[in-house]
């Protein structure tokens, strides 16, 4: 395995694969914080150059987080289809990139090759891609999933309505939910982040959302984004959950910091098969985001893009209904400004789709980042063009519980209108029935939450 190269007259010798992977990344404050980022642009290019020439076998044979030490590595390793891998193991990362972007590789081809790739290999290609490469590649992959309804079809931009409330007031949650529905938002999921992580509170909110869905016959799914074990308790107490949620990290240690492991996910998966209230076959809602492993000091000296890809490797095991990268929530020490956030959003979406996952993105930022709503407009449009499965809808983009800004109900309506995208088909029919949408456009009734009172 060659880890040496010369760029503009200077020779670079990288210590190991981890260093090559980290330094080949586009600039991120999180990699700087970890002390593993390239010192300058020239070193970055050198690392990319070395990476481009490595073979897929080099990556597999030099595990950066050994499977003996980490169960996420084991899940990823066990998921590889040996037959497909053997066909391509001698490809360089450059060749893989070019294959992915070539016209000969369509949706089916990419899904097939995906099964022979490890998460690290997919991360490697992302490091060699420009933003437009990431968009081009991702836009070829269509991932349709089904719980109560199907999303992910071509030409569809679905959305999660996120009607959070600072004290979980059920009436207050309902108020934002009505507002969102009246803008045609909520086809991916009605998902609430609770303040109170108790089974009671989770059950109350699940019951309320289910009641609204039943009353108005809304073709969607409900979910409360508490810790998975709290949701499991609520479900065992009879709460109606169409989807079960959990945040994932890309290492066993990172997952332990979240209070989960593969055994617990397996148990939750089993429970959903028995007691989940949706038709399936996809029951999971996962969230990820670059930097979470470092924040738990569980990154094994690896860069945040590769760790993020490993989350998708883990997610893939559970055939989720939706996966959401919460791209700008973590803060400026991981993604400093809009440039880094936009890059990360496109990387995550691409890497997730290359894993065959139904990727969505919480296009978002916190107030201590050098980012504003204009940047969200940009990333939202870029992801819409890349075929993102869903984005997040919050009233006027301002989440009054999590204290950050995402995309608004208006924004999603605009993405759809500008990009010629539609809500999920069943949901659009329902919107028409409610008189909120006609021929893919909002009607004069849209935006009045009291139509649900």
């Amino acid at each position: 395995m060659n880890t040496k190269t010369t760029v503009l007259g200077q020779t670079y010798q990288f210590r190991d694969l981890k260093e090559v992977f980290a330094k080949a990344n586009e600039d991120k404050s999180g990699d700087q914080l970890a002390g593993i980022a390239a010192a300058d642009s020239r070193e970055r290019v050198a690392a990319k150059q070395v990476l481009a020439d490595l073979t897929l076998a080099d990556i597999r044979n030099n595990p950066m987080v050994p499977a003996e030490e980490d169960e996420v590595s084991r899940v990823i390793e066990e998921g590889i289809n040996e037959k497909i891998y053997n066909e391509i193991k001698n490809w360089s990362v450059a060749e893989l990139r070019e294959y992915i972007l070539s016209h000969q590789a369509g949706d089916n081809e990419l899904k097939r090759i995906s099964r022979g790739l490890s998460s690290e290999m997919i991360a490697a290609t992302a490091k060699l891609m420009s933003n437009l490469d990431l968009i081009t590649a991702a836009s070829k992959i269509k991932v349709v999933t089904h719980a109560n309804t199907a999303i992910g079809q071509r030409g569809v931009l679905a959305s999660r309505v996120q009607p959070n409330h600072p004290s979980d007031n059920v009436q207050g949650i309902k108020a934002s939910l009505y507002e969102g529905l009246s803008y045609g938002i909520g086809d991916a999921v009605i998902g609430i982040n609770p303040v109170i992580d108790t089974a009671d509170s989770v059950k109350d909110i699940l019951n309320m959302t289910k009641d609204v869905m039943t009353k108005f016959d809304i073709p969607t799914q409900n979910c409360v984004l508490a810790h998975v074990s709290t949701q499991m308790r609520a479900i065992r107490n009879g709460a109606p959950a169409d989807l079960i949620f959990q945040s994932l990290a890309g290492s066993e240690k990172g997952n332990n910091a979240f209070g989960i492991d593969v055994a617990l996910l397996d148990e939750a998966d089993e429970l959903m098969r028995k007691e989940g209230t949706s038709y399936g076959p996809n029951f999971w809602y996962f969230e990820t985001g670059q930097g979470s492993e470092l924040s738990a000091e569980a990154h094994h000296g690896m860069d945040q893009v590769t760790m993020e890809a490993r989350c998708y490797g883990l997610a893939r095991k559970y055939n989720p209904f939706i996966v959401n990268t919460v791209v700008g929530f973590i803060g400026p020490e991981y993604l400093y400004d809009s440039r880094q956030v936009i890059r990360a959003g496109l990387e995550d979406h691409y890497m997730g789709k290359m894993h065959g996952l139904p990727m969505g993105c919480d296009v978002c930022y916190t107030n201590h980042m050098k980012v504003d709503q204009n940047d969200m407009d940009n990333l939202g449009i870029l992801l819409s063009s890349a075929g993102v499965n869903f984005v997040i809808g919050v009233a006027m983009a301002d989440d009054v519980m999590l204290n950050y800004q995402s995309t608004s109900f208006h924004d999603i309506a605009a993405f759809r209108e500008v990009m010629g995208l539609r809500p999920a088909p069943d949901f659009e029919k329902w919107l028409e029935k409610m008189g909120i949408m006609e021929n893919g456009r909002l009607t004069a009734k849209a935006g009045d939450p009291t139509i649900f009172m």
């Binding site: 004290s167 979980d168 303040v195 109170i196 108790t198 009671d200 509170s201």
Partner: protein
């Protein structure tokens, strides 16, 4: 601690029937671990409902207190509940019943027989509201846009409560009930309540006491009585029908969209048709006929309201009393556990304006005049003369807290020197800070109990239960005065 159950009892001694229920209420943490603790009742389960007993009488108008005691003792036994387990609840004694000669004896007996923290109360307003809750009208109002009224018709009175968007907005009580006219099986009128005499006269109706009454004539009275009540409830006519009203009238007619009828007469509405005097008098009164004519009105649809079936009929009040009477105060409070429970404390309201909050002199004057009012209204006691309910404070800064606690404590000590405990109820979440500030000033003379986030009005009485897990205080507010619509 994430959850805790408390057991609550409801007892309803009515003019004609007596029943009790036992329920359990679950307190759940309603705040995150990063906030101040806050608990609420998150679940109410009915554990036991007694059968409906005839209220035992001695003669015509005296309640057999010992008989009631025996019924309760047997029911507690059947329910396998010991009194020490009961932490909250309410006993409702219907107005007419309680006004009988031996009311005192009954209340006394009930207080003994119904556990640690159970209050005996009998406000028709509260009864109406509790019956409305038990009948499901309150819940229904949250799911609709207009107003729903539940009228709970028992033996002597009918208690109506209006609900809108989950809030009780008005109550009214009528002399309408199954036992106002009592009959022998042959149709001889044995008794007519004097309470409806004026109304009968105004209507030109006569009922011959001691004589046989014809079925048609009795039906006419029942129909007129039912219609008068419905006229008043729906605002169709309030002059003549108003003669049936007990206590305060509604200020304005309230447009009603939906109606439920609970109580014993509510149950009789779904009984068999009443075709002759034998059908009518099967319980010794004209209750079955009253239920039947109301059912006829419902079927005819003369009144422009939607009639709905209540969740509960004869047990609506007792279920409301047992399951819906208890609230929980805010969980950051200032208390001395050994001073609780306390019962039947009247409310004195201190409603502060922005001007008074901004000006120490005006604040002092306001506190002084409210304390003077308290002095006149309530008897001097070494205990608790009243609970001071403070409202109008938007944001309480530390500076305001100091001024407020200074004025409240200094004047309290001067005006009520014999009182050993001062009880304060804040509308907003500030009880711990205010209690602490008061206690630092008073140093035990008086002791301070300060709770918050309970809404009370003038004329309310309040009971505070023993703290659960240290700081969770069950509260029963006995609403005797009713807020008219804002």
């Amino acid at each position: 601690m994430d959850e805790q159950w408390i057991q609550s009892v409801g007892i309803d001694v009515g003019t004609s029937t007596t029943k009790m229920i036992v329920s359990r209420l679950r307190l759940g943490r309603m705040s995150s671990t990063f906030s101040l603790p806050r608990y609420q009742i998150v679940e109410r389960q009915l554990l036991y409902a007694s059968e409906v007993h005839s209220t035992p009488l001695i003669g015509f108008d005296e309640i057999d207190a010992d008989g009631i005691g025996a019924i309760l003792a047997a029911e507690y036994d059947k329910a396998q509940i010991s009194l020490s387990q009961i932490k909250s609840g309410a006993v409702i004694i219907t107005g007419e019943t309680a006004s009988k000669k031996n009311a005192q004896h009954i209340v006394h007996l009930l207080a003994e027989r119904s556990g640690d923290f159970v209050v005996a109360t009998a406000g028709a307003d509260l009864e109406g509201v509790l019956a409305g809750k038990g009948a499901g009208a309150e819940k229904r109002s949250q799911a609709m846009q207009g107003v729903i009224v539940n009228v709970d018709i028992g033996g002597g009175t009918a208690n109506a409560a209006y609900f809108q968007r989950g809030r009780a907005i008005a109550t009214v009580t009528f002399h309408v009930g199954g036992r106002l006219i009592r009959l022998s099986p042959q149709g001889v009128v044995q008794y007519v309540s004097p309470n409806i005499q004026q109304w009968l006269t105004a209507k030109g109706l006569r009922i011959p006491v001691g004589q046989e009454i014809g079925f048609a004539q009795l039906t006419e009275v029942a129909e007129q009585l039912g219609r008068s009540m419905l006229d008043y409830l729906t605002g169709k006519e309030r002059q003549v029908s108003g003669l049936l009203v007990v206590g305060p009238h509604l200020r304005d007619a309230i447009p009603v969209d939906e109606l439920t009828v609970s109580g014993g007469v509510g149950l009789l509405m779904s009984g068999p048709p009443v075709r002759n005097i034998a059908d009518a008098s099967r319980y010794g009164d004209f209750g079955p006929l009253l239920g039947y004519v109301l059912q006829q009105e419902r079927e005819k649809g003369t009144y422009p309201v939607q009639w709905l079936d209540p969740d509960q009929t004869v047990r609506a009040t007792v279920i409301g009393a047992g399951m819906q009477s208890t609230e929980i105060s805010g969980s950051t409070v200032h208390i001395k556990p050994e001073l609780l429970p306390i019962k039947n404390i009247p409310i004195l309201k201190l409603e502060l304006t922005e001007e008074q909050l901004a000006d120490a002199t005006r604040l002092r004057q306001e506190v002084a005049s409210i304390y003077q009012l308290g002095e006149r209204l309530f008897e001097k006691t070494t205990g608790i003369p009243f609970a001071l309910a403070i409202s109008g404070i938007g944001y309480c800064s530390y500076a305001l807290l100091q001024t407020l606690s200074q004025e409240l404590s200094e004047q309290y000590r001067a005006t009520f020197p014999e009182s050993q405990t001062m009880v304060v109820i804040c509308e907003t979440d500030m009880a711990k800070a205010l209690g602490q500030a008061l206690a630092l000033r008073c140093k035990g003379a008086p002791e301070i109990i300060c709770i918050d986030q309970v809404r009370v009005e003038y004329g309310d009485y309040i009971d505070l239960g023993e703290p659960i897990s240290g700081t969770i205080i069950p509260v029963v507010v006995k609403t005797l005065a009713f807020d008219e619509r804002p």
